[in-house]
């Protein structure tokens, strides 16, 4: 039997009926006498665990244990805002007689995710940079709707009456420029999902546009965000008080206060215990605090440094590649700041001269 967990404010965030307590970590040097919390890479590596729980073709769930919240939050923010992807940025319209106006149609096209590897393209340094084959992809969208000649007389199904009555994302045709034909040959650029309806047409209407796709980050426009979302939660803990066990006749009611599977009731003795594997499914609804008969029997808490990440990928990256990309972006940011700090250090003997901002 593993030893019973006790509520430890140093490691757990207390979840009380009306508030939370002990939210931040206090593991800094000097906070607690006789304890050394200064940075030690070996101790950190011993306490660090990364375990993947579930992987699908579109999402990944993994545990990150032993890091501080600021690092986990940094990865989450980078996943949402700073991992680059490629999306349509400029739409040059020659003909648009559909019911959707140009700018709304262009916004819809911009949101279509493309399956191009952003590592193969450069980012434009500014909006008015020259468009080259290294930083722009060109697509052509040409659809016109016609009446089907031999449609049955009494049908109302647009599929039977008209040809091309919907403009789908599959109608985006890549036009290779320059060297792209060779570089992008084994994975021709196309939308990831070919069934996105962009607009609907009727006979006589047509759209004819040229689309330019560039590399960008979510910070700039949300269409560049590579994740449907990336989020984490802390591992929930249900701590039973051994000095005040749940009364036997109320064991079933106690079990219903929590998410299914979290509490196990022994069929014979009606003793209540927590299923440690299913405990992570607990949604912390605090239902148990609403019943005065259970007061003092249980303490809800969350483990402060155990993060359950859930990342859903949208667009090019397979879900297992997203965290390494985020870590690479983080390391690039650290390297930039470090270079600048080192430059300050080297020029720093003469502080008055270099880099003094006006306060």
């Amino acid at each position: 039997m593993p030893p019973a967990i006790t509520y430890d404010p140093r490691k757990h965030v207390g979840v009380h009926p009306e508030r939370v307590s002990h939210v931040s970590s206090t593991n800094f040097p000097g906070h607690h006498p006789d304890e050394d919390h200064s940075w030690d890479l070996e101790r950190f590596k011993k306490g660090l665990t990364v375990k993947i729980e579930r992987l699908s073709n579109r999402s990944i769930e993994f545990d990150l244990v032993g890091v501080d919240a600021s690092i986990a939050n940094a990865y989450r923010r980078i996943l949402i805002a700073e991992v680059p992807t490629i999306c349509v940025e400029r739409v040059y319209v020659w003909d648009n007689t559909s019911v959707v106006v140009d700018e709304v149609f262009a916004q819809r096209i911009g949101l279509v995710p493309l399956n191009v590897d952003p590592a193969l393209m450069d980012m434009k340094q500014s909006q008015n940079d020259q468009a080259t084959d290294r930083n722009t992809l060109v697509f052509r969208l040409q659809v016109s709707c016609e009446r089907r000649k031999n449609a049955p007389k009494d049908t109302t199904d647009p599929n039977k009456l008209y040809i091309n009555h919907e403009v789908l994302s599959s109608h985006l045709k890549w036009v290779p420029q320059g060297e792209q034909e060779i570089v992008l040959a084994d994975n021709p650029p196309a939308p990831t999902n070919l069934n996105i309806v962009l607009t609907k047409l009727r006979p006589g209407q047509e759209v004819d546009m040229e689309l330019h796709a560039v590399k960008g980050v979510g910070k700039d426009h949300a269409k560049f965000c590579p994740v449907a979302t990336a989020s984490y939660r802390l591992l929930p803990l249900v701590i039973l008080n051994p000095e005040k066990p749940v009364p036997r006749e109320l064991a079933e009611k106690f079990q219903k206060c929590f998410s299914s599977g979290v509490i196990r009731v022994d069929p014979r003795t009606k003793a209540v215990s927590v299923d440690s594997k299913k405990m992570r499914n607990e949604t912390m609804s605090r239902e148990v605090y609403r019943h005065p008969e259970f007061e003092g029997c249980v303490q809800l808490a969350r483990v402060r440094d155990h993060f359950l990440f859930n990342i859903e990928s949208e667009g090019f990256y397979p879900p297992q590649r997203l965290l390494p990309e985020a870590i690479a972006v983080m390391r690039a940011k650290i390297a930039t700041v470090k270079r600048a700090a080192e430059m300050l250090l080297n020029n720093g003997d003469d502080l008055g001269d270099v880099a003094m901002a006006n306060a």
């Binding site: 940075w39 660090l48 720093g348 880099a355 306060a359």
Partner: protein, 112 residues
């Protein structure tokens, strides 16, 4: 790069031996700022380190204030923290790849 402002500036009012200084870091936000603050605080010689707040949302910068004991240089503390953060990222990535390689997880098919 000469036209863009330098990445880090030390604001006026810093101590001459840099034991207390406020660094203005451009084009960064709490993403790296909070992580950097945590790592700098892990240094036992640091008396005070904080981001404070982003001075104005229109300007994309953070102001990081570091104060040191014993008259040490806060710039060195910043450099050391940056190196340690890099080591953290590397350790997380290595463990992630190791876990990915063990194949010890549930795989399921998700419909688009």
């Amino acid at each position: 790069m000469a036209e863009t402002s330098p990445k880090i500036k030390i604001m006026a009012g810093a101590a001459p031996d840099l034991s207390a200084a406020t660094f203005q870091i451009f084009d960064e936000s709490h993403t790296i700022g909070n992580a950097l603050r945590w790592m700098i605080m892990k240094n036992p010689k640091v008396e005070f380190a904080d981001i404070g707040y982003v001075p104005h949302p229109s300007e994309n910068l953070i102001q990081l204030r570091i104060q040191m004991y014993d008259g040490l240089s806060s710039l060195n503390a910043l450099l050391e923290a940056l190196t340690n953060l890099d080591a953290v990222c590397e350790a997380v990535e290595n463990k992630y790849h190791a876990s990915l390689a063990t194949n010890d997880y549930e795989r399921w098919e998700e419909r688009s």
